[in-house]
């Protein structure tokens, strides 16, 4: 009896599964498919929203303005990773084997990216990463993997140069206990050591909203710059609470090392006046427009969503989609080998500069293109670029 039930249930389930899967195979049209991976649920779902916006704008541009590529429309399939590597691996596997996408782009979690590149490499499908910063993504030297976005060591290089240029004396590193936080903390420590600048570091729990204890340790150390490698809401709390315990910009400036949290619409709601003179790393600035594409992106964004773009990750995904479309067009087909060859020859203007992937194998620069990273400071609620000097729109203010 028991067996009978169990098997009839199982069989009916299996049969439904087969039926539905065959139906979905039949319903396919002629489009060029691009897969996107990124978190749409879970703690980093904000990135998913930014990605959705960027995808919409990119599709409008590619399909409507340009009329598609190779005479076909581009279709984007956006799979959720939940910010979880296991799910991310499944997601990209689905995009490649089930949806048969020609190329995959996206991702903003280093841990997910590391899981995904293995799969893209195994199936030999090109994959352009937008916002996963960990060095290994490109230093592993996989032929199929590209990154058109920042990498930890590139960002840290920028930050160290800035520290040297502004002559900071004593640095405190505060890093969340995630792959990104710990990775960038280690690189920063190495960089500071090389420059002979004294530093100290604290690790914080990623879920934490409470930093009084950590901040009091910082006060005891008395640095003149705090490198805050905390992503998400935590960094808002950190900045607001730093002000509460009496850490003012006059004692120590705060550099937020990720970028988007300082640009989120809630930033000022959450930190209040404590946000004044906060610095952050960003590939995007409200006034500085490095290219024509950046201007177009901003105008299209404002028209479509009736507000200014805030999370620069919508622009990152926009960029990689343009790069992908350009490469497919030049490759002349959806063949992976051809696309990789085209990507290696890319010279395309996107919203944050002219993309040209590095080709030195065995280093982090292989298949890597980092947009110029700006260091921006909030001055009277205006974004002022303070570094690099070529792009600067104002001087760094230290607070009184």
């Amino acid at each position: 009896m028991l067996k009978k039930r169990f098997f009839s249930i199982f069989i009916s389930l299996v049969i439904t599964m087969l039926l539905i899967s065959s139906i979905s195979i039949m319903a396919q049209e002629e489009t060029i498919k691009i897969g996107v991976v990124g978190p749409r649920t879970g703690p980093a779902a904000a990135t998913g929203v930014a990605f959705e916006e960027g995808i919409e704008l990119a599709l409008d541009y590619i399909n409507t303005t340009k009329g598609g590529i190779l005479g076909k429309k581009v279709e984007v399939i956006f799979e959720d990773t939940g910010g979880v590597p296991e799910k991310a691996a499944s997601a990209i596997e689905k995009l490649i084997t089930r949806d048969k996408v020609s190329i995959v782009v996206g991702e903003s979690h280093s841990s997910c990216a590391l899981a995904e590149i293995e799969i893209a490499n195994r199936y030999e499908v090109p994959f352009i990463i937008a916002e996963a910063w960990v060095d290994e993504v490109t230093s592993k030297g996989y032929k199929w993997i590209f990154r058109a976005g920042p990498c930890n060591s590139g960002v840290v290089d920028n930050i160290i140069q800035w520290i040297v240029a502004e002559d900071f004396k004593k640095i405190m590193i505060v890093a969340e206990n995630t792959d990104w936080g710990l990775g960038i903390k280690k690189l920063s420590e190495e960089g500071l050591q090389k420059e002979g600048i004294p530093y100290n570091s604290i690790i914080t729990a990623v879920e934490s909203q409470e930093y009084y204890t950590e901040l009091n340790k910082i006060i005891d150390y008395a640095p003149d710059l705090i490198l805050a490698y905390i992503y998400g809401f935590g960094v808002h709390d950190f900045i607001a609470q730093a002000n509460e315990v009496g850490l003012s910009p006059a004692n120590a400036l705060i550099l937020e090392g990720a970028g988007p949290p300082s640009l989120w619409p809630e930033f000022w709601e959450n930190v209040g006046e404590a946000g004044e003179l906060e610095c952050f790393v960003s590939a995007m600035h409200s006034k500085v427009e490095l290219t024509e594409v950046a201007k177009r992106f901003r105008e299209d964004y404002a028209k479509k969503f009736n507000r200014e773009p805030t999370d620069y990750k919508s622009r990152s995904i926009y960029n990689v989609l343009l790069i992908a479309a350009d490469a497919i067009e030049r490759a002349g087909s959806a063949d992976g080998e051809e696309i990789v060859k085209a990507l290696e020859e890319t010279e395309l203007e996107v919203a944050s500069g002219v993309v040209k992937f590095g080709l030195e194998p065995g280093t982090v620069k292989y298949h890597q293109w980092q947009p110029p990273m700006l260091i921006i400071q909030w001055q009277n609620r205006e974004q002022v670029v303070v570094f690099p000097k070529e792009a600067a729109t104002g001087e760094l203010k230290r607070g009184k």
Binding site: T41, G42, P43, A44, A45, A46, G48, V49, N177, I202, I203, T204, A205, E207, S208, Q209, E210, Y212, T213, E214, N216, K217, I219, D220, G232, F233, H236, D237, Q241, N243, E244, V245, G246, W264, P265, E266, E269, N270, G272, E273
Partner: protein, 287 residues
């Protein structure tokens, strides 16, 4: 030395909020023998509602908190009627149902309020120099005072009013209470609403400090459970002392042991308490 003071002081402030939230779980556990796993989610909804009323509709913080309190109470009432009611007498069923409910509520919050963090406006800006030892946020101090007032109010309600007496009677002996003609069903819906409203109000008053995200309830929910066990299941006094203790231990632990391990201290205490004194500091064992 001053950092020790600030850590203890801050532990007391945070601990008061823990206590307030944990009292809700304790009330529901005592009065209904239901372990509410979705407590943290009512906490974030309290915060979201007060955000909505104050930030989007522009009400004053007090009115926003009162409105969200009422709303949470009403939702709790409905949840009890539809979901919890059928699990009476089975602690495990209620645990499973509320566990699933917590996942559902988290995702509802994500869809309604979006993934970005929300923070109602502060009631007061700036910070105060405490005894020339350290600076402390005025908002936190005011929240602390409000939380202490709410705790006092809670004990008055429990000890002096008709509702409190009935709840205590039911907690002591359900059968006797129903023999005495108390309508347990009504009291149950009421106490569930009241219990989750405590979480909601804790969320509403603390949100100007920490803000709120869809997943933000998981931590406080688990912490509240730890506090309830630490204080002793069913003991209100235990909840208050457990909350304060945990707040202080966490802060000291972060300061002197490891800040990456902030959340582990509570769980270690939970297991130690369950092993050596399962009835907690002030509790009686629950069958």
């Amino acid at each position: 030395m001053s950092s020790l003071f600030v850590n203890i002081f801050n532990g007391i402030v945070i601990g008061t909020i823990y206590a307030l939230s944990a009292l809700g779980i304790s009330l529901i556990l005592g009065a209904m023998n239901v372990m509410n796993f979705a407590h943290g989610e009512f906490y974030i909804f309290g915060a979201y509602f007060s955000y909505f009323f104050s930030r989007s509709l522009g009400f004053s913080p007090l009115i926003a908190i009162l409105l969200s309190l009422g709303l949470i109470f009403w939702i709790g009432f409905l949840v009890e009627k539809t979901l919890i009611h059928s699990t009476y007498g089975n602690l495990m069923d209620s645990l499973i149902i509320t566990f699933i409910l917590s996942i559902v509520l988290q995702n509802i919050a994500l869809i309604i309020f979006g993934p970005y963090p929300k923070k109602p406006p502060s009631w007061i800006i700036g910070s105060i120099n405490v005894l020339d030892l350290f600076y402390y946020s005025s908002q936190r101090l005011i929240t602390f005072i409000v939380a202490v007032l709410l705790l006092i109010l809670f004990f008055i309600v429990m000890n002096k009013t008709w509702f409190g007496k009935i709840v205590r009677a039911i907690s002591a002996d359900r059968e006797v209470a129903s023999l005495m003609g108390i309508n347990c069903d009504k009291v149950n819906s009421f106490s569930f609403g009241f219990g989750v409203a405590l979480a909601g109000v804790a969320g509403a008053i603390i949100s100007p400090i920490f803000g709120v995200t869809p997943m933000g309830g998981v931590g406080i929910g688990l912490t509240s459970v730890v506090v309830v066990v630490l204080g002793g299941m069913g003991s209100f006094k235990g909840c208050v002392i457990g909350g304060l203790l945990l707040g202080i231990i966490e802060n000291i632990g972060v300061a002197y042991i490891s800040s990456g391990y902030r959340n582990i201290f509570g769980f270690i205490i939970l297991i130690l308490i369950l092993l050596f004194r399962p009835s907690g500091l002030f509790g009686t064992t629950i069958k």
